[in-house]
């Protein structure tokens, strides 16, 4: 493979801008594809060439594989960067790009397929000696087996109906006595509810935290760029991310990152990828959940603490380059926080709020970065996700990063549409947040409790 000369960016919004910047820095020409609703987006204004894919609906533009392949052929671009979302983890698209003799910036289609499938990825993890949530490999055969397995795993455990789905039929037991009482009832319920008394048993993770490891590979060698914590979520969407995961014990942190490298080496990973884990504070154990074979929204916090430009590295590797650094070269310094600025009104149950941006003032200063896809006069279309940009700050310590974030949020002005900046202004003052005493449920609990009142009180954004 030869270095990339002309790159087609198959995405929109802030990540398209981010990719343009990385391409520019390498002297790579850019082709920006857009939907009819996105002709004015920031990345289109920056690009050397713009190609309109089709109507606003993503299915007719950013997800329309044939139209993208036509744009690739017509533009003469030699590579495609898919960003995140859309076609970034679509193995058929990656395969079609490669079949045209062009470069897909990411792992090969087979790796996307293998690691994108949860069951396959879990098996690959087990084979590489990476821990997964411990539990019965199949159905439990009765009370005795359940008690003995639970004894090995340690309490609390949960039993769930083998035939059930989602959260249905789940019972949590904290002691052997509770489990012995729960099993017959759970079996009877499973039989009544699903026509099948079969039960699975697995470790129950209380106050789970979401930890993930950034990796970078060139198909032979793989390194990690430390971990991020993304426990603050609403409806399974991350809203606030940090690097490193400050609450992890250093020994455990090293083990976690080593496990991610082991797994990605085993699949000879090429490109940037993320291993996602669940962290169980009670057992002090981490469990692999899934792998994302693409750049992630929250990649800037890793860039801030390591000084590595991940998108640049992706482009260099895709162009046939080897990793430009060794594991020993990667240092994690200080602490970084990213908050997502979405066009949603947190005081009105996160009501989507597209529309005109009239004022935009972005904070500046040491350790402050704003990755955005907006400008004054830009009209945010209603057809895509609500991410306007990301405010990222770094400091020598977590405390300093919090202080910088508070100050940066004070000087961030986006108007007149309501944004989640109001949520973050409230969160940065929360004692639990400062103490890092959170879990993946913390934000939703807080929003159901004092949160909405706190947001409304401190709110400076105009009411939309």
């Amino acid at each position: 493979m030869a270095p990339i000369r002309k790159l087609l960016i198959a995405n929109r919004g802030e990540i398209a801008v981010r990719i343009q910047r990385a391409a520019r820095g390498l002297g790579i020409g850019t082709v920006q594809v857009v939907s009819e609703a996105d002709r004015d987006m920031l990345a289109a204004r920056m690009a050397d060439e713009v190609i309109v894919l089709g109507p606003p609906a993503a299915s007719k533009s950013y997800l329309a594989v044939d139209r993208l392949l036509d744009a690739l052929r017509d533009s003469g671009a030699d590579a495609v960067h898919p960003g995140y979302g859309f076609l970034s983890e679509n193995a058929d698209f990656a395969r079609a790009v490669t079949a045209m003799g062009r470069i897909f910036v990411g792992p090969d289609a087979d790796t996307i397929e293998r690691m994108g499938d949860k069951v396959n990825a879990r098996q690959a993890a087990i084979a590489a000696g990476v821990p997964v949530v411990p539990g019965s490999e199949g159905r439990i055969e009765g009370l005795e087996q359940a008690l003995s397995l639970a004894g090995e795993i340690g309490y609390p455990v949960m039993v769930k109906a083998a035939a059930g789905g989602g959260g249905r039929g789940i019972r949590v037991s904290h002691t052997a006595g509770e489990l012995a009482a729960a099993i017959p009832t759970a079996m009877a319920e499973a039989r009544a509810g699903f026509g099948d008394p079969g039960l699975y048993l697995e470790a129950y993770v209380e106050k789970a935290r979401h930890i993930e490891v950034q990796i970078l590979g060139d198909g032979e060698d793989v390194i990690h760029l430390h971990e991020r914590e993304c426990s603050l979520q609403r409806r399974r969407q991350k809203v606030w991310e940090e690097a490193p995961a400050a609450m992890l014990d250093p020994g455990l942190r090293a083990e976690l990152c080593a496990s991610a490298v082991r797994l990605s080496r085993a699949v000879r990973y090429r490109g940037a990828g993320t291993m996602e884990y669940l962290y169980d504070p009670k057992r002090q154990a981490f469990y692999f959940i899934e792998m994302n074979t693409r750049i992630q929204v929250e990649h800037p916090v890793t860039e801030m603490v390591t000084g590595v430009d991940l998108v640049r590295e992706m482009l260099l590797i895709a162009g046939g380059g080897k990793l430009s650094m060794t594991q020993e070269d990667v240092r994690c310094t200080g602490h970084a926080i990213e908050v997502r600025i979405n066009a949603e009104n947190p005081a009105r149950n996160f009501l989507p709020n597209p529309g005109h941006i009239e004022t935009l003032r972005v904070p500046e200063g040491p350790g402050v970065r704003f990755d955005g896809g907006i400008y004054p006069g830009y009209r945010v279309p209603p057809f895509y996700d609500s991410l306007l940009g990301k405010l990222i700050v770094a400091g020598d310590s977590r405390e300093q990063a919090f202080d910088r974030l508070a100050a940066a949020l004070e000087s961030l002005e986006i108007g007149p549409i309501a944004t989640t900046a109001a949520l973050h202004r409230a969160l940065v003052q929360e004692p639990d947040m400062r103490a890092g005493a959170v879990s993946t449920r913390w934000l939703e609990d807080w929003l159901e409790g004092p949160g909405v009142a706190v947001i409304a009180e401190g709110r400076r954004d105009p009411v939309a």
């Binding site: 066009a343 009501l351 989507p352 597209p354 609500s386």
Partner: protein
């Protein structure tokens, strides 16, 4: 009796039935109660119901499904 024009409260793509292939939420002549869903608007990957604010008799939709509407553009008419 007065004819009331209902507008989409948010910009986005209008859907007149709960799912593709299903009947529309309301047909002309249907009675409408306050709070009834008249359409869905897809905005930033969320689906928000457009609800009737008062009761009446449904007169008809003024747009087709999957039309892009701006706030203030008429969606349907109800006789109240």
């Amino acid at each position: 009796m007065a004819i009331k024009r209902i507008e989409s409260p948010l910009p986005g793509v209008i859907y007149l039935s709960p799912a593709p292939g299903e009947p529309v939420f309301k047909a002309p002549g249907d009675s409408v109660a306050a709070g009834d869903t008249l359409a869905l608007v897809e905005v930033m990957k969320s689906y928000m119901p457009v609800e009737a604010e008062e009761a009446g008799i449904f007169r008809g939709y003024l747009v087709e499904s999957e039309t892009v509407l701006e706030p203030g553009e008429p969606l349907c008419e109800i006789e109240v």
